[in-house]
């Protein structure tokens, strides 16, 4: 049981829900559960190869899953998974 925090820009695809309770045991399965429940999220979360998109990061607590076991990172009851869009830019 993990709670996935949906970033505000994706909430129009989750019926305005700010979080989603997943029952899966790891991050990859939990994200798949989310996109099964809300198919509109899929294209914004995954690229054509099914990988998390370039400018999206997935965190478990305060750790980037890339520093853990990526999609295989285990989650347990009370784990918070955050979908984090990378925010950057500049003038020219």
């Amino acid at each position: 049981m993990a709670k996935i925090i949906i970033p505000t820009p994706l909430r129009k695809f989750t019926d305005n829900q700010s979080s989603f309770q997943a029952t899966s045991g790891n991050v990859g399965e939990a994200l798949n559960e989310l996109t099964t429940a809300y198919p509109g999220v899929k294209g914004h979360l995954f690229d054509d190869n099914g990988q998390v998109r370039q400018f999206i990061k997935v965190f478990v607590g305060e750790d980037d899953v890339k520093d853990l076991d990526n999609n295989a990172t285990l989650v347990e009851s009370g784990t918070v998974i955050s979908i984090v869009p990378a925010i950057a830019g500049g003038s020219c």
Binding site: T8, F55, V84, I87, G90
Partner: protein
Amino acid sequence: MTELILTEDARKVIIKDAESAYPHECCGFFYGSDDDKRTVTEAIPVVNTKEENRERRFEISAIDYMKAEQYADENGLTLLGVYHSHPEHAAIPSEHDLRQALPYFSYIVVSVKKAKTAAVLSWKLNDQGRFEQETVINQNNPFDVDVFLSSFNQ
């Protein structure tokens, strides 16, 4: 054009951040409500974590993004978007801004010339993934309205 109501308090925070960060770019989040009209009631600066070229680049850490969502959630606010400044450039989003822009968010860009604010514009992605300018409506003294309403209701 969509409208963005910017309260005086929020506008002051954004302008102060843009001018004090000069010649570097500043950045931050803004919050408010999106029920009927999109209204920005609060802006909070965050650190520009870019290590180089901060006079023309900004970056916000993932931790600061998560904190922003949490702040909105805890305070019954909606995270409405991101602001940043363009020192010595127009308040028009660049290709870099577009590449990482998200739907739904408003993007406030402040043009700063010689450490002074020259323009405050807001932009939002349209359904084609292009930036469209929003009409920024400056709202003065929203507090007075609250005071008036609360005294009226008593």
